[in-house]
Symmetry: C2
Subunit: 454 residues, 2 copies
């Protein structure tokens, strides 16, 4: 895979040198020959003094193309815009795709600056941006763009084609033309492919597909992504409550949504945000400590519980060798069942009845618990030559696994029902919680058979 003809580091050095030597023409020729994504990668690796030259050398429209591809780290975007003169910054924002401009504006800390930019930019851009800026995060409205192509159904294909040709430079996607009625309600869609293939004298009404796949403006971005993926779409129209066409979500934004959702599910399971990158160990430690310390307190519950069985352990110290084995294995089983449950919930194919699926997990836990329990019983029997001890550990293991399985499946479901993101329930949380139940089960059973163990 060859992204840059030279390596990124070399490219950055070359461009820094050109900027340093004030070679504007050469800089523009070489920089503008790159793909916008490469331009954005280089831009993100420059120093303040280099960037300030770039604001002199590139037109707002050229810089807007770079910023459309910039993977926005919230804080740096703020810095870049602060460096530009307000009129320049406002023009850059106006030239960006409206959905991306909204992303930027939402990340600026100084709200007065946002108002200033909105006043300074062309009225049309300001209108598009204000129509988008109030949608809730992670909804269809928040990721859609208003720069789409729409026509009325009475037109001929040839007229539609000319309309498309006019708007092709500014529209974010030209591969679907949406058809609306006199009240702007979405009534059909024609793909550019159909526009090209069919006779140009036909009417849109006769060629359009009236079963348009669309989403509501408040639908969650995950549902949107699943729909684009299932239907193999390049863009998905977004409608309001009267089915009026409000915007379009393009597949490039869906790719970003999928990446964000994958990162967030993965982070949830691991109890650490893997999408953040940290420059210093201190900052990395700070992001990991909240969960660790919270779980430490939950773990203290387990320690307190074990200390209640002090007398039991003193009488049969062999018991303590198996605490970690039982808590660890039950924690592993709970993590598995948690992951399965969360995945079903986030992918929205969990249409089972609540109790049916808990019953399913109960039986799954019983089967895995039984097999793991028998295995550990046999090992302990051979190792310690003590059938009762083996049976106690085997039965405790089985019971602990069943409980951990149920907890792993039940907790995300309850969180989902209560309106929380089930993906926040982490593997470490389930492990630490199941430590408590496992210890309780283990020592309760051991207590019953104490006389036979020692």
């Amino acid at each position: 895979m060859e992204i840059f003809e030279r390596s990124l580091e070399e490219s950055i050095e070359t461009f820094k040198k050109l900027l340093n030597e004030n070679r504007m023409t050469r800089f523009r020729t070489e920089y503008l020959a790159l793909h916008n994504y490469e331009q954005s990668m280089i831009f993100a690796n420059l120093e303040k003094e280099d960037r300030e030259k770039i604001y002199q050398y590139l037109s707002p429209s050229e810089l807007a193309d770079v910023f459309d591809l910039l993977e926005s780290q919230d804080e740096t975007i703020d810095i870049y815009f602060e460096e530009m003169s307000p009129p320049y910054a406002a023009t850059v924002l106006g030239e960006m795709y409206a959905d991306n401009a909204v992303d930027v504006l939402n990340n600026l800390k100084n709200r007065e600056r946002v108002n200033l930019y909105m006043k300074l930019m062309p009225a049309e851009s300001a209108r598009e941006i204000s129509s988008l800026i109030n949608y809730l995060d992670e909804t269809a409205g928040a990721i859609m763009t208003t720069e789409f192509i729409s026509v009325q159904e009475g037109l001929t294909l040839s007229a539609a084609y000319h309309r498309l040709r006019e708007q092709a430079i500014k529209a974010e996607t030209i591969y679907y033309v949406y058809v609306v009625d006199e009240n702007d309600r979405l009534v059909g869609v024609i793909s550019l492919r159909d526009l090209i293939i069919n006779d140009e004298d036909k009417l849109i009404h006769d060629v359009m597909n009236t079963r348009v796949i669309s989403v509501q403006v408040n639908d969650n971005q995950e549902e949107v992504a699943k729909m684009v993926q299932d239907y193999d779409l390049l863009a998905l129209p977004v409608v309001g409550f009267d089915h009026e066409l409000l915007g379009v979500i393009t597949v490039d934004d869906v790719l970003d949504v999928m990446q964000d959702e994958a990162d967030s599910d993965y982070s949830g399971l691991a109890a650490v945000d893997v999408s953040e990158s940290h420059d210093t160990p201190l900052s990395a430690a700070r992001s990991r400590l909240p969960w660790l310390v919270t779980l430490l307190f939950l773990g203290m519950g387990t320690a307190t519980l074990i200390s209640q069985y002090d007398a039991l352990i003193a009488e049969a110290s062999v018991l303590s060798a198996f605490v970690t084995l039982i808590t660890g294995t039950a924690g592993n089983a709970g993590t598995q069942s948690l992951a399965v449950a969360v995945r079903k919930l986030t992918n929205k194919y969990d249409d089972d009845n609540f109790f049916t699926s808990l019953m399913f997990e109960l039986i799954t836990g019983a089967i895995t618990g039984f097999i793991v329990g028998i295995t550990v019983m046999l090992i302990v029997l051979v190792w310690q030559q003590n059938l009762v001890l083996g049976a106690v550990i085997g039965i405790a293991m089985m019971a602990a696994i069943i409980v951990a399985n149920l907890a792993g499946s039940f907790i995300p479901k309850i969180m989902d029902k209560l309106g929380f993101d089930p993906a926040v329930a982490s593997g470490p949380f389930i492990s630490t919680l199941s430590d408590l139940t496992s210890v309780f089960i283990y020592f309760s059973i051991a207590q019953l058979f104490l006389s036979a163990i020692i």
Copy 2:
């Protein structure tokens, strides 16, 4: 979000009824009015007798459109094709997009049937399929299609446009036209947008973009997905070793790759395959047991180690209360560090030096370990009124966290260096492994201070 006008269940019932009553015309009218994805959802929910009617009612080309959108469960695809007459099946495969037909053929168990289909289908389709079928799984070659549009650079835009119009029905993507030289080497690209915007008398040579973003046929599908995502592409050309154009990867396939990769990373971390769906608890248990039992044996190592400290525990039974706390917390820290390391490796932005990044993780572990250690020391001091015990547990906690952090970071890196998928190293594996080291650290330190604890 409204996918079906009626619910899926109702639609299935309606179509079953139409098939049962042999109402072919009505069935065709209603079924073909649906989106191909909806057709595929309904098809997947029918019984054998219904499907056999469908093979009579739909042309191979109509069924091919349905199968192009079918989310292929390997086993069911095999069953469907077995139900069709070989000439019908071969024609369906020939009419499908070549990359999807290859997926199907790779999932058929009976290799003789594959050969038969290849013989029975049109020569052109057979040629396209055989050119794709030998690429390694999860490479660019395996997900590309050969149905793209290419032209030579001497043509005018208007000639290219007519070429595109001719091929638009069959080509999987028409939104980029690729430009090749006389040896079929990729030399440029024009988007359909550029073709539409520019004057039709211009030469391709003058309009095309010569810095084409492309991938090698053997590149991993993850890199392909990252590239499409970074560059916001709708399609990505695939070249061979002489830079000859072999195929094109479309964004819909990239969405599927991202979903697969996200599922596989998530499954790796949880030590269970979340992408499988199980009909019975027995089958669910079977998929979870291998990891559980493997880790059980690793856990037995920890149990054996603890039993070596039997005398120590007998003398100071208070020690056993804190084993689970230390192993649990270190396991949680190890899971965090593992997740961060795996994510960096799979997203390919781990360009740090091996030792630099281990050092980073060592310091991160030292900071988190120090803070968690101090916290637990204070808690134990207040609870047990024993400074030495508190110090022993605090120091052991810190050391155990540092070791778990290093293991969580080191193990996936080593696996990656050795050519394994680092995402297979699971949270449960790291937890279970760090149980062993944590116990060793804890009891070794406790032994040193035994006289002061009791």
